[in-house]
């Protein structure tokens, strides 16, 4: 047969099947839409970050650190002639309106950024008035975000003056956007720009203050791209060999930002894929039902001389065609969602960065969609090979059972295909295997339970209600789509329930009233000599549970005599090798390396706080050495244990301490805790600051902050409730997105159920006609149907809720290490929801069968 003829036949075979194919297409389109939307967003964001990389860095190169560049470091000498540099300092601090009538003005936590002329080298600041920042930023001037003016209660009809640190500043301009600040909803407060001279005037920088230092570098025009990396390498070589200094080029395009987006994208991509796979079940079902209705036609075709493989080609081609249509519709839907989402979640996704045109994502949707359509229809299509042509003479000639080998092959192909598709989506073999394995397990569980249900119904005693009896019987009858419907709906319930339970549990953990004895505020950057005054201020403000400890900043320089830089380099090399060998990106390993080289906060205490438990060794038990106590998991990250010798660099002064105890910490108390606690009597003379916690009466935080800002402007006051609220807000938005995606899966489940029901509508029509002929009222028939669908929904709901609860338990207790809280009401709600949806979808799909007059149906027999 010529391909053209085959194609014509395919189109003809599709006639009169619009309704049925609509379900096929709907099942597929929903999943494809989810995949495309997620892939499109992830890719759009990534390409946006890449193409805006120079603007996002505001420079060609940047050196970032927690300390200033060494005095001996001659930057200009390392750069090509004509390069420009601009230093930058960033910190979080509290600013305040000027006091009035002796009362302190309103205060506000802000993100301060002091810049030199030239910033930003690339990208544009949106400033009013529209003049260069350097022209606006006189030593007594600040450029601020408009919301600060409201927050401080400043009035625009008066001079806009406020206080930063110990100096007064006037507002010289308002900034609404800056190129190198990507909003992900994590800002502590409004932006304030100062000049370096202004920062100096404010007097905020003391030794040990939390300042991040950045030097922006713009190379002269015409420097070739490969020079950039070379210069970066030279800078890295010239800087002290520690990861405390990071050199980043715009070509790296925000590796951390992109990595975190990619991780979220990968997770969401799996959720989307799940809804596509659930859609695949619907595809398999509608193909099976469609073929069941085409048995006569297939027999005639075979009778007229069509070869089995031509029959297969015909229907496989048709499936591919439908898969194409479904995928295209899904792509359109997904693209629409992709375009809409950044505007709906503006505080999570930098909308302006998203590049909407992502052909890769569209192609991925097309490939995955057609792939899923073909894969899932393979098992039902395999049955085609065995339709006996003698069916034209004897209607009762049923399809022969599919060869074991054929069926086996179809399922192996299905599993391999799923793995391949998942790999295409996640690009991680391990993750794909885990995902497909879990999916197979859940599906098998649901399928076994559904089969047992269908079998056990036959053994039930006869009910007196005819509707109940009939509805139950319908579930058990051969050829009923019970199993498929239960599996699909069950998977949907699992997804949505697990997502929402996990998200609820974590939100709950974050939003619940703080433990009654927990502090409500953190105070950082307190100079030691200020502490007495701050303490008195807090006491006057009726704060209780006031606690304070000294903090000494230091770096670990060696472990058991080996320099950490070398250890870190070795670890990095090992990891790179394992990545080259196809291993996965190992976040834990990166975390460990960071633990080695980052700036550490040390404290010294005679007695540990109550939320610490020593689990190994003994506190301050060695009279001959200086001792340090380590948090257990931190010690594991460092790779040290009891007796290890840690060398420290305490702001230039070397110090060696022996690990004599390991502790666990209950971080949930919000007390002040440290990974590293040093024996008293060693660090007392080191440059240090204090941090403090206090519990304030609800609603008095603003007042205390105002008082502190007036008297101790260098002290940063952090409100725990407010910060938790911000994190909670972000989390809830992410949770909403995940549930939205999970909703796709439920939608697929419903489409599948309705599809399964309407696919059996011919048989259903006859059944209704017969029941009516026998004297059953329409109401009775509808009740019988409702019982059937309610059972399907109930079983799917119960199994889904059970599995979902187990999964949630795992995620909560293992993944997040939070105590488990059973939520029986939620689970019950899920079951009820599943039943109601199932009944609605079922009855809606049966309306036509119920409406028809018996004679119409019987006449066509």
């Amino acid at each position: 047969m010529k391909p053209r003829t085959l194609f014509t036949w395919m189109l003809r075979e599709s006639r009169g099947a619009f309704g049925r194919f609509a379900f096929f297409v709907a099942c597929l389109a929903v999943g494809v839409a989810a995949v495309v939307a997620i892939a499109g967003l992830a890719a759009g964001l990534d390409s946006g970050i890449r193409s805006e990389a120079r603007q996002l860095l505001a420079a060609d190169l940047a050196i970032e650190s927690r300390r200033a560049l060494p005095d001996a470091f001659d930057l200009a000498q390392l750069l090509p002639a004509g390069s420009r540099t601009a230093a930058m300092r960033e910190m979080v601090t509290v600013v305040a309106a000027l006091p009035q009538n002796g009362k302190p003005g309103r205060s506000q936590l802000v993100e301060l950024k002091a810049v030199e002329r030239g910033y930003p080298f690339y990208g544009k600041l949106a400033v009013v008035p529209a003049r260069p920042l350097s022209a606006l930023l006189a030593p007594d001037a600040a450029v601020v975000a408009p919301e600060l003016i409201g927050a401080l209660g400043l009035r625009r009809d008066q001079p806009l003056l406020f206080r930063i640190g110990t100096a007064d500043f006037r507002v010289a301009g308002e900034v609404s956007a800056e190129p190198d600040r990507v909003g992900i909803g994590t800002a502590f407060g409004p932006r304030v720009f100062l000049s370096m001279a202004g920062l100096e005037r404010a007097g905020l920088i003391a030794k040990g203050s939390r300042v991040s230092y950045k030097t922006l570098i713009a190379l002269p025009a015409g420097v070739p791209a490969d020079r950039l990396e070379k210069i970066a390498e030279q800078l890295r070589a010239a800087l002290p060999a520690t990861e405390a200094y990071r050199v980043e080029t715009f070509r790296q395009a925000q590796p951390q930002l992109r990595r975190s987006f990619a991780q979220v994208g990968r997770f969401l991509g799996l959720v989307a894929l799940l809804s596509l796979f659930v859609g695949g079940i619907g595809v398999a079902q509608s193909v099976r039902a469609w073929l069941a209705g085409r048995l006569d036609a297939i027999a005639i075709l075979k009778c007229l001389g069509l070869r089995p493989r031509e029959v297969l080609a015909l229907y496989l081609g048709q499936t591919a065609l439908l898969g194409l249509v479904g995928s295209l519709i899904g792509i359109l839907l997904g693209a629409a969602v992709q375009a809409a989402v950044p505007h709906l979640f503006g505080d999570l996704i930098p909308a302006a960065l998203v590049r909407p045109w992502q052909p890769g994502a569209l192609l991925r949707g097309l490939g995955l969609g057609v792939g899923v359509a073909l894969l899932f229809s393979l098992p039902p299509l395999a049955g085609l090979l065995r339709v006996p042509p003698s069916r034209v003479l004897r209607r009762d000639a049923e399809p022969l059972p599919v060869h074991r080998a054929t069926a086996g092959f179809a399922f192996v192909a299905l599993a391999a295909g799923l793995l391949a598709l998942t790999f295409a989506q996640t690009e991680s073999l391990l993750l794909s295997a885990q995902f497909v394995g879990a999916l197979t397990l859940a599906t098998a569980l649901l399928a076994v339970a559904a089969t047992l249900l269908a079998k056990s119904i036959g053994r039930l005693p006869r009910f007196s209600s005819i509707a109940l009896r009939h509805g139950l019987g319908a579930l058990a009858r051969p050829g009923a789509a019970t199993v498929g419907a239960i599996v699909a709906l069950g998977l949907g319930v699992i997804t949505v329930l697990t997502m929402s339970l996990v998200e609820r549990r974590i939100s709950h953990e974050l939003s619940r009233e703080l433990p009654s004895n927990a502090p409500s505020a953190f105070l950082v950057d307190i100079q030691p000599e200020q502490w007495a005054g701050v303490r008195a201020l807090l006491t006057r403000a009726r704060a209780d549970k006031i606690d304070s400890v000294p903090v000494v900043m230091a770096r670990i320089s060696s472990i058991n005599g080996r320099p950490v830089d070398r250890i870190a380099a070795e670890r990095k090399k090992r990891q790179e090798q394992s990545e080259e060998q196809g291993g996965n990106e190992n976040r834990e390993e990166r975390g460990r390396r960071w633990a080695l080289t980052r700036e550490q906060r040390l404290t010294y205490l005679e007695k540990l706080p109550a939320d610490n438990v020593v689990v190994a060794g003994k506190l301050w038990s060695d009279p001959t050495h200086g001792e340090v106590s380590l948090e257990k998991s931190f010690a594991e990250d460092l790779g040290v244990g009891l007796g290890s010798k840690l060398g420290f660099d305490v702001q230039g002064v070397p110090l060696t301490l022996v690990v004599t105890s390991l502790r666990t910490v209950d971080w949930g108390t919000f007390g002040i805790n440290f990974y590293l606690v040093v024996e008293p009597g060693i660090l007392e003379q080191a440059p240090q600051q204090r941090v403090a916690t206090a519990r304030l009466a609800n609603g008095s935080e603003q007042h205390v902050q105002d008082l502190l800002a007036a008297s101790y402007p260098n002290v940063t006051f952090l409100r725990i409730r407010e910060i938790l609220g911000k994190i909670l807000g972000v989390l809830q938005r992410i949770g909403l997105g995940v549930r939205f995606l999970g909703g796709f899966t439920v939608l697929s489940g419903i489409a599948i159920l309705a599809g399964a029901i309407s696919a059996g509508s011919v048989r259903r029509g006859r059944e209704v006609a017969l029941l009516k002929t026998l004297g059953m009222t329409r109401r009775q028939v509808a009740t019988a149907f409702a019982v059937e669908y309610a059972l399907i929904g109930g079983v799917a709901g119960l199994l889904g809720a059970g599995t979902g609860a187990a999964l949630t338990w795992g995620v909560i207790t293992r993944g997040f290490e939070l105590p488990w809280e059973a939520e029986p009401a939620r689970l019950a709600l899920a079951v009820v929801f599943s039943i109601v949806l199932s009944v609605i979808a079922g009855l809606a799909a049966s309306v036509r069968a119920l409406e028809r007059r018996p004679i119409e149906v019987l006449r066509t027999e």
Partner: protein
């Protein structure tokens, strides 16, 4: 008469497993049908008529025995081989018409022609529809046609590829008397003009009377045969042909 018979059945058995024991549908049939012959098969329900037809068409496989078309045994052919054989050599007419419901009348007639990739198939389909008197109804779907019209479409489809053999299973069984007679008239006329060998299964003695030969089946065996007096080139008897 030394020419090879068009259809030849040798010691043909067909048994079906039925509830633990075998049910014999055909019980050792020997039959030879000459080129151009018109044979009617009669018998009560369950005598094996339809199974006999299905075996001749390669729609079913015998338990034992041989089926030869033009001297070629077909029981050893693969599914594909049988399919190719059917598309080239066999035409079918069924009691329940068996038109494809999602194709128009014309497309139903076109179907076997397209399978053979025969050139000018469109014109041929139109010509056939005209021959059965449905030249204006080609664009209609089966449900829009009466039973008699549907069967005429089926006739046009059966003769589309000019098959040397036509197998008809009670083609008038679902039709009223007048319509049935009309269909039969067309069928016999087409057969006459194409010189087709025809095996027709029927309950109706009046229909069977038109055949060259009548085979009476009972319990899977040939009970008796009758030859019409008027029947022209009398083929050799079964025994001598074998």
């Amino acid at each position: 008469m030394t020419s090879t018979p068009r259809i030849e059945l040798r010691r043909l058995f067909r048994r079906l497993p039925s509830g633990g024991r075998d049910l014999t549908i055909l019980d050792g049939i020997d039959l030879s049908i000459a080129v151009g012959e018109f044979v009617a098969v009669l018998g009560p329900s369950g005598s094996g008529k339809s199974t006999l037809l299905a075996l001749m068409a390669g729609l079913d496989r015998p338990t034992s025995g041989e089926i030869l078309l033009d001297g070629r045994p077909i029981q050893a052919l693969s599914e594909d081989g049988l399919a190719r054989l059917r598309r080239a050599e066999l035409g079918f007419v069924f009691q329940s018409f068996q038109l494809l419901g999602n194709l128009t009348a014309r497309e139903n007639v076109l179907l076997p022609l397209e399978l053979l990739d025969s050139p000018g198939s469109g014109a041929r389909a139109d010509e056939l529809l005209a021959e059965v008197g449905l030249q204006d109804r080609g664009h209609h779907y089966p449900t829009q046609l009466s039973g008699g019209e549907q069967q005429r479409v089926a006739l046009a489809r059966a003769f589309a590829t000019r098959p040397p053999i036509l197998l008809a299973d009670e083609p008038t069984g679902n039709l009223d008397g007048a319509t049935g007679r009309k269909i039969l008239e067309i069928l016999l006329d087409l057969r006459e003009r194409h010189g087709t060998t025809m095996v027709l299964v029927t309950h109706d003695p009046a229909v069977a009377a038109l055949a060259d030969r009548r085979i009476h089946l009972r319990d899977g065996r040939i009970e008796r045969e009758e030859r019409s007096a008027a029947s022209s080139p009398a083929p050799a008897a079964t025994e001598s042909a074998a």
